[in-house]
């Protein structure tokens, strides 16, 4: 893995951290600001993917494969979340014909 | 990378690109001729001798036709759909090893655009992206037939992708690498993978048919039910893109099948031929062999199309989920056990 490590390390680690943080923040902002359940959901996925990116970068910098294995787990569990989440969203849509989370205020906050 | 290398890569890319376009064009011609042959007709015979210029005429027509974007369609996505379809079809060829490296002077030119260590995953990724083209196009049309076609296409593609992935896993257990270049090298001579993975190949080819939306799995564009399926609303070059993408996909999947299972550019006695023909023409002969295999597959695609009737949708899904996936898993288990026992 030597040469690959060298190449990836040509980019400073801070850049990866910064990039991931930015992507993560975009995801957070998406969750907080958007009203469409699907879009919120996609924002969450964005957050998870920024984590994946950062994990991979750390993993390569550290020369430790466990970070990349973690990425696998994140992907698998994100998939499980997708499955359940989509099912829930479809269920909501069938009951209300909308996926705007503003209609979801029958239970008061 | 030196400038010369880049130039060579660009050259290779453009050559491969043009070849795939030409092959796609002439596949349409071949399809018609073969259909005619099966149906005891003549087929295209007006444009040029034996109608050989027919694809040119078709192409010109595509350019000259009126471009219609329906009023209710989502304009941007309506254009993106076909563009994506053809783009994904075109970039798949990047990792296919077309032949052994050609040595001119002291410069070694690999006949492969790039040999990355996740080649197979790259192909899968590109193929998966292909469904977006269909899906976006069908959805953007805002036409009921298109939408239904698009959904069918999506649903069918993803269903068969699982069994495709599973069938590849058995192959990977044999090869131990994801690089297509390496897989091709391993099949030197007659050590073709199909000998070790006959079931895997069978599964793969079925899935390849489904992935390219070819008959008997062409439900997304099934004329009798859906008019034109996802491309009902398309005209002019955008329609052309969809049709083109289908043929390019067919070409690429044939190439992948040939590389993965049928030895790629390898053929029995290639060492002898290589010595005989020298460092330039030896590899190029391998490339020629590869193309022969590809053409055979393309012919097979067409043969099937004009022989076997279309599946019903439930049959299609049943085949994909209830037959292919268990078979693929069984294949993995079998391969695993055999390899472990033989070791």
């Amino acid at each position: 893995m030597g040469s690959l490590t060298n190449t990836i390390q040509a980019v400073p680690l801070n850049h990866y951290i910064l990039l991931s943080t930015i992507i993560f923040s975009i995801g957070v902002m998406g969750v907080l600001l958007r009203r469409n359940a699907i879009v919120i959901f996609m924002s969450v996925e964005l957050m998870l993917n920024s984590v994946n990116l950062l994990l991979t970068a750390f993993s390569v910098y550290r020369g430790d494969a466990s970070g990349q294995v973690f990425v696998f787990f994140i992907m698998a569990l994100a998939a499980a979340e997708v499955a359940v989440g989509l099912a829930i969203i479809v269920m909501i849509y069938r009951n209300t014909n909308s996926i705007d989370i503003n209609v979801l205020n029958r239970l008061k906050w | 990378m030196e400038l010369a290398d880049i130039a060579i890569k660009f050259g290779l890319i453009i050559v491969i690109f043009l070849i795939s376009l030409v092959i796609a064009m002439y596949s349409t011609y071949a399809e018609r001729k073969i259909a005619a042959f099966f149906q005891d007709r003549v087929g295209p015979n007006r444009a040029g001798p034996f109608g050989i210029l027919q694809p040119m005429a078709d192409g010109a027509k595509m350019f000259l036709k009126e471009e219609i974007i329906p009023a209710n369609a989502t304009g941007f996505l309506f254009i993106v759909g076909p563009s994506l379809a053809i783009m994904t079809a075109c970039i798949g060829s990047a990792v296919i090893p077309w032949g052994q490296s050609v040595t001119i002077g002291d410069r070694v030119i690999p006949l492969q655009v790039t040999d990355i260590n996740v080649g197979i995953l790259y192909i899968f990724g590109v193929v998966s992206l292909g469904v977006y083209g269909v899906m976006i196009g069908g959805w953007a049309s805002n036409n009921k037939y298109s939408l239904l076609g698009a959904i069918r296409a999506a649903s069918q593609n993803i269903s068969y992708e699982i069994s495709m992935g599973l069938s590849i896993i058995a192959l990977l257990m044999v090869t131990g690498t994801l690089s297509l270049g390496e897989i091709a090298q391993q099949q030197h001579g007659w050590h073709w993978n199909v000998l070790y993975q006959p079931l895997g190949f069978l599964l793969f080819i079925v899935c390849a048919f489904a992935e390219t939306n070819r008959t008997p799995f062409d439900l997304p564009e099934c004329e009798t039910e859906l008019v034109g399926g996802y491309h009902t609303e398309y005209s002019s070059m955008k329609l052309g893109f969809y049709l083109f993408a289908e043929y390019i996909n067919m070409f690429i999947s044939s190439a992948v099948m040939a590389t993965l299972y049928w030895g790629g550019y390898n053929y029995p006695g290639m060492d002898f031929m290589g010595n005989l023909l020298g460092p330039v023409w030896g590899p190029l002969f391998g490339t020629f062999v590869l193309f022969m295999k590809i053409f055979a597959f393309i012919f097979f695609f067409m043969w099937v199309r004009w022989t076997i009737p279309r599946f019903r949708y439930d049959q299609l899904m049943d085949l994909g989920w209830k037959v292919l996936i268990p078979l693929a898993i069984a294949n993995i288990v079998l391969t695993g056990i055999v390899i472990t026992l033989l070791k």
Binding site: F72, A76 | S83, I91, I162, L172, L178, K322
Partner: protein, 123 residues
């Protein structure tokens, strides 16, 4: 000996994408320019076998398609786990094989369950 991939190996792929993109854009542009334009209202309505268009096409569709999509996501991701295993199959040996077979077995149990449950029946 494992093949090494450098970022530079991916450069040709970007080249190829650029070539494809160029091709698409040029062709689109050219057809757009040279094709005739005679727009009429009827021409722009969605094709519906010649009868009046009723409603929007984007209505809810059968839940079966969602089900297939969700199942795909699940199974495809599980398949991902097998790739690293398959590539390193010979190194992992018998233990690795048994472990993965347990995994496959679990997967298969779930698979049989959904089939029995009728999740994949298209009636």
């Amino acid at each position: 000996m494992e093949l090494q991939s450098l970022p530079v190996n991916y450069l040709p792929i970007i080249f190829q994408m650029l070539v494809a993109l160029g091709f698409v854009i040029t062709t689109m542009f050219v057809t757009h320019k040279i094709g005739p334009k005679r727009v009429t209202g009827d021409k722009l309505t969605p094709f519906e076998s010649g009868i009046e268009v009723i409603g929007n096409a984007r209505t809810p569709m059968s839940i079966k398609y969602f089900l297939v999509a969700i199942l795909f996501v699940l199974f495809d991701v599980e398949v991902i786990f097998m790739y690293p295993w398959a590539v390193n199959f010979r190194d992992l040996g018998k233990d690795g094989m048994i472990e993965m077979f347990i995994f496959i077995g679990t997967l298969l149990l779930g698979f049989i369950y959904i089939i029995k449950k009728g999740a994949l029946d298209w009636d």
